[in-house]
Subunit: 196 residues, 4 copies
């Protein structure tokens, strides 16, 4: 009988979601479950600007501190991944990761035997993949969807950006800092009907 | 173009899980997400004895009141399901439901257009389905697994009952009130190795 | 870097399906793919009576010989599973397996490192699990659904038995030899409407 | 009780796969199942050059004629999709679709109520999405994986291009006509080890 090789069972998971589907709460639920079971883990959050303060926000559950990863950093440089007790890494806002950072996470999986769960948006307000979500769709071991429902009852797929008058916007920068509350997740058909 | 018929899109979901995989936290994360989005919902918990106090317990997230459903009750009798704003029902400890109660939930889905998510254990300490989980595997629209890992790194599948000396027990009643802390979830092979 | 341990990566898959969803064709597609890639495999079929002739039937693809497993046999007795090149076992009509046979298959997975895919019906004409499908829902590593659509457009879940006048029957033996063409798969709501 | 609205239940499926995982056979198995159940359907194949002859190839199952869609065509121009009996469209080589063609398929789903299943590669030999697979990851309702195993036992994720000496190539055109037999699907770690 062969011995168990932990290294070969680690996986890179991508849980993609539309906005407001509760993905940060799911990340926190996972983190609390690790704590209850005494499983060592780390939470990272991809920073989009230098003001980011290293906290996973969740109104009902309260905030929880996390590590920040900036675009010019690699995970493998942030801790000694080949000599660690950490068995799981949770990454929030994974859509903002660079391709190099996602590749680096896959090295933690493939060579250090650490499981990685990335939580992130699937697409931007123009229905295109972000750099991080694109690389995750390319190389993740497991692609799972966090579902939420459109007002019409169908599954949300897109994240529409809404202007001050409540209309869907289709032009602009991919990331607009400070516009977090001006998005509305929609099913594909309601989105199409809105931009026609 | 045909109109949207909400009734046809409701589903009966079964999220099965081993013990200590954080399923109550996932239920609460879902509930809080409904609250943030102002979606009317109800939480039920299947009662195994008359002392049950109507609360979803979660150490990190705090407790949350819920409705209790006893074995001789039907969901459709507990509220006016054909004349309600409720769009989602969350059910905890769904393994303890009777087959009639699961059938009743499926009527809420099929005829009242209410979505139902049942969270429950897959099997008992002897690796057999509970009445509720059996009926859910038979008739649910969607069967999803909440995963957790065995100490060996593989996926937990079974819930071993442990005696005071730490040994796995294979004889006894399916439900032993007060023994909640004497279970250990294990992968299939570690469980087999334990009972050999 | 640790060596790869094939034993720990084998899995027991249950692909459950309603009748006429093309599951035998999917089994054959898998088998032909193994042949194209020179991967050693075996096909077994669970026999319900002594007349069964050891063939996977498929009108469009032609028949393919297979091994027969009878209710009083174990897979581990049919070939030298600990000393074999076989990497995959495909099992058709897995709903007819005994619980002991499913447990035996899980031993091939857990101790001999052989992957096993069981194709079978989820429930009988009275909407209850078969012995084989019950045990597979209890212990399989992966539960996947082969989908087909009801005449109404929803997903088929149940297998209604139809009498000579075209009416749905709800009484009778679980297995009626020779009645194979008297079943109709239906979504849950159409089935309910038929038996009311 | 509301009437069934077929339009709202159609979906756009993306079945992504590595090379040699049997995806054309799965497409054919689906097609034959539709024929057995008298469900009207069409098969399209995305053409990469003008020599493509409109056939789904499959050694074990035989060839099957299909419609060809070229890069400058739309599906909605190839048949009267709003006035048709066709309930399902199967698309082979979907990675070669343009983004506009995938959007067009989503219109068939959203406005004509036709179900669409796209079978295609996830990534090219440099581990990047194709135009068609990129758009499908962005907008599909359902993303499913057709799995196959690397020689090492892990799941195949990448499609390595091999030169005449058997070495993995990382430079070149995304599509090299006539090089179909010079690819080898690999798990992520074996691919990384090959290109180091």
């Amino acid at each position: 009988m062969t011995k168990i090789c932990r290294t070969d069972m680690a996986k890179l998971y991508f849980y993609h979601a539309p906005m407001n589907s509760g993905k940060s709460m799911l990340l926190l639920a996972k983190a609390y479950n690790f704590e209850e079971r005494s499983i060592p883990y780390l939470i990272f959050k991809s920073a989009i600007d230098t003001r980011d303060e290293g906290v996973i926000h969740s109104r009902p559950l309260g905030d929880k501190p996390c590590l920040i990863i900036r675009k010019d950093e690699l995970f493998s440089e942030k801790f000694d991944c080949y000599n660690t007790d950490v068995k799981w890494i949770l990454v929030d806002e994974a859509q903002f990761l660079t391709a190099a950072q996602v590749d680096d996470l896959s090295d933690l999986v493939d060579y250090a035997g650490i499981n990685v769960i990335c939580y992130g948006l699937r697409t931007d307000f123009q229905t295109h993949l972000f750099e991080g979500s694109k690389r995750l769709f390319e190389i993740a071991d497991s692609i799972e969807e966090i579902k939420s429902q459109c007002d019409c009852g169908k599954k949300n797929i897109f994240n529409a950006r809404i202007d001050k008058d409540g209309h869907v916007v289709t032009e602009g920068e991919q990331i607009e800092v400070g516009a977090e509350d001006r998005y509305k997740s929609m099913c594909r058909r309601c989105y199409k009907d809105s931009v026609k």
